[in-house]
Subunit: 136 residues, 2 copies
DNA sequence: ATAATCTCTTTAGCGACTATAGGTTCAAGA
DNA sequence: TCTTGAACCTATAGTCGCTAAAGAGATTAT
């Protein structure tokens, strides 16, 4: 049995964030000490680790609610879990693609050799989208 | 002289967003019709295009305030504009790197052949970070 | 016993919008 | 000219995933 501060240190999740997850229904309300302070067991630790890892992979709070629900039914098919993971993967790939286009564009306008705003590619390009090489 | 709806259509920026930009001080308050409706000229169009394009490249509202200020002084050196662009470029590159790690991880756990939650890599990996290949 | 550190709840703030409600104005057709 | 319906106005609240702050109470170490 340990305090919220201890849980926070062990999981690398900030204290207010833990309370926020509890409020959002991701974590069950834990037992309390005599003086009304939260007391967690290793179960709480596992669950929070799951949540943290899921967040790092970009799952939304809502997604995680679903994944946690799934993980409580080990005998069920895991189609849904794969679906969520596949969606995230597609999303991550789309974002990478988009960011790569932005990278090119920023690279291009950063290479401008001008030293006055009047001829600066950064400002010019922002002002006139038609100067862009890529679509966005 | 055209309405906010017209401006919205021409720039591809939603009406409430235009009003929000005005409130944030990115766009000067435009003239008004007899009946108090906003009336824009091509200047407003240019400015909003600049803003839109900047947002697409990931500049913050604050960055854009700075860039707009710079663009009003064409005779000045453009060091600051390049600095902002370089920062964005570094940021975009960092995000690409991070997303690529996530992509690998999601790819790996998506490849799981199990059909029951009990043996599903998605759920297992989320529950136990130590199964991860990459750091995050 | 006391001091230092934690923890509690509640409330508000962040960025960049987006949505809603309830009212006013505009432009086009009859 | 009148009417209708679309577009517009302001003000306020909600979104997401936290984060910060205030003010009070609990725990732990000395």
């Amino acid at each position: 049995m340990f305090s919220i501060g201890e849980l926070s240190r062990r999981c690398g999740v900030k204290i207010p964030t833990i309370r926020y997850y509890e409020q959002m229904g991701l974590i069950a309300a834990p037992e309390r000490s005599e003086g009304n302070q939260r007391r967690y067991s290793s179960d709480g630790l596992k669950r929070l680790s799951f949540i943290r890892h899921s967040r790092e992979l970009g799952f939304s709070i809502d997604d995680i609610r679903g994944l946690l629900e799934l993980s409580r039914h080990p005998e069920q098919p895991c189609r849904d879990a794969h679906k969520l993971a596949a969606q995230r993967l597609a999303d991550v790939r789309a974002r990478i693609a988009r960011l790569k286009r932005l990278e090119q564009e920023l690279q291009r306008i950063s290479d401008c050799g001008a030293d006055r705003i009047a001829h600066c590619a950064v400002i010019e390009t922002l002002a006139d989208h038609s100067l862009c090489d890529t679509e966005h």
